[in-house]
């Protein structure tokens, strides 16, 4: 990471976040390439044995959302003590990770959006049907517009997944041994809201469906309002967890 304007004292809280996104993207670049190649190659290979009627990219997108949460939690858990020890204030840390989450979430959300639209063209050229599973049935994305509409949801979902992962990472560091338990309520809210918004089946462990499906019947406006509330409340929780987080001594 360059120590030029990124880390100048008056601006480092703003530059560090996007710099983290850049470094993380560089670090995981081969993962991204692998995901894109596999998502294109897999339906092609499967098409020799059966008809293709589901969007491979939507599975990639859901795995990517979980990956985003892991990146957020993992980075926060491992970097927060190191950054504070290197003189970053908690406020700077909060702002940095907020911008990291926003830029990472938007980048990945945009990638998913572009992938779904590109997949629509790919499937159309191959004569396959692009659809997603919802309530036990396949919902066809019949046009570029429908594919784009579904893809646009991930621009909201990825920042929420990042926020959820960051809260889990911060709580796990803050309350050693018990902090990870916050993963349960966080997962229910994040996965439930995302599923309700995308109107697909819940992702994740099967038992979670009983918890998350309640939100499936909500109207889109209510879900968006709940989404916005979750982002605001989640950001407030993340701020509270980090603003006086201690740097623990390492175990010998």
């Amino acid at each position: 990471m360059s120590a030029t304007k990124t880390l100048q004292l008056p601006t480092r809280r703003y530059w560090l976040g996007p710099a983290l996104t850049w470094e993380a993207l560089k670090y995981y670049r081969y993962w991204f390439v692998a995901a894109i190649v596999l998502s294109a190659l897999l339906p092609f290979l499967v098409s020799f044995s059966r008809d293709i009627d589901t969007s491979t990219w939507s599975y990639t997108a859901n795995i990517g959302a979980i990956f985003t949460a892991i990146v957020a939690g993992g980075f926060l858990y491992s970097l927060a003590p190191s950054f504070i020890a290197n003189s970053l204030t908690r406020r700077e840390l909060v702002v940095s990770f907020g911008l990291f989450g926003l830029t990472w979430g938007l980048f990945c959300g945009a990638l998913v959006f572009a992938g779904l639209v590109a997949e629509h063209a790919y499937y159309g050229a191959m004569g396959w049907t692009q659809s997603i599973e919802y309530s036990g049935e396949l919902t066809v994305m019949a046009s570029f517009g429908q594919a784009a509409e579904h893809g646009a949801l991930y621009l909201l979902a990825y920042p929420l997944y990042f926020l959820g992962g960051a809260i889990i990472g911060a709580a796990t560091y803050r309350w050693e041994g018990t902090g990870w338990l916050i993963a349960f309520p966080v997962a229910v809210v994040v996965i439930g809201l995302t599923d309700a918004l995308s109107r697909t089946v819940p992702t994740g462990p099967d038992w979670l469906r009983f918890v998350t499906e309640y939100a499936q019947g909500w109207g889109r406006g209510a879900v968006l309002a709940a989404f916005a509330a979750a982002l605001v409340i989640g950001a407030a929780i993340g701020y509270r967890l980090l603003i006086d987080i201690p740097v623990r001594a390492k175990k010998a």
């Binding site: 990471m1 880390l7 004292l9 970097l79 003590p81 190191s82 020890a85 003189s87 908690r90």
Partner: protein, 291 residues
Amino acid sequence: MSFSVSLRDVTLKYRDSEALSNVNLELEAGKIHGLLGRNGAGKTTLLSLLAAFRKPTAGTVLVNGGPIWENAEIVSRVALIREGGDFDDSDTVKSSIETGEIRPSFDRDYALKLADKFELPLNKKVRSLSRGKRSVLAAICGLAARAELAMFDEVHLGMDAPTRDAFYKELLADYMDREHTIVLSTHLIDEVANYLEEVVILDRGSVLRHEPVEAFQRMGATLTGPADAVDAVAVGLEVLAEQRLGGTKSATVTVLDAPTRERAAASGIEIGPVGLQDLFIHLTSPERDGA
């Protein structure tokens, strides 16, 4: 420029137990301070407060006259290097050094020069370093921080004797070259005693003594000679410790005024200095009940 330190009525609790109790302490800028204390005395906790690693339960921590907590201008010029360092273990040595660049004053070239001098493998993961090499990495990051207040908490643990010696020399060279405040927390008291200008002794979460090192040196003497003569001279003095071998006795006493010194010399008693470590051992002895 160098930073002074002021703790006012500072208490820090871990759940129900008090690690520091109502501590008041002033550390003068531009000096090398030794922070001594037995295990669990509160040294690391105190340093954690000075570097804003933790927030005190009560009281005020001021560095350079301003509160350290969430104060980017000040905290970016304060470095606390703890044993083993606060690194992301999955990082390489080079990345760990570069993370130091979050600090505006960090001297990357100096850090890399030291890494070369101490033979640190830059491409190795931190987790795969030996304890000694990890300590070296921590020490390098501390030195290259070019902080106005640099604190080293048992950072030499794991280093072999030549490496420790090289570290002390580098620390001293940097101190001579650039005015700043240093706090050394260590159990290897005799190794650093010659470098210290002031010494703070913590005991059970409180400041037991805080004096210039010369005051500690004047604080005691070792009287060695015939047991009867030593006993006669030691009457009325605070005896820190006694050792007897046959007819010879050695007594460590706290204060020795000029007449007593003359009387001891006349009785054939040898008068020796008390090492800082010996004094520390006696001062923090559990039998002294808080001294």
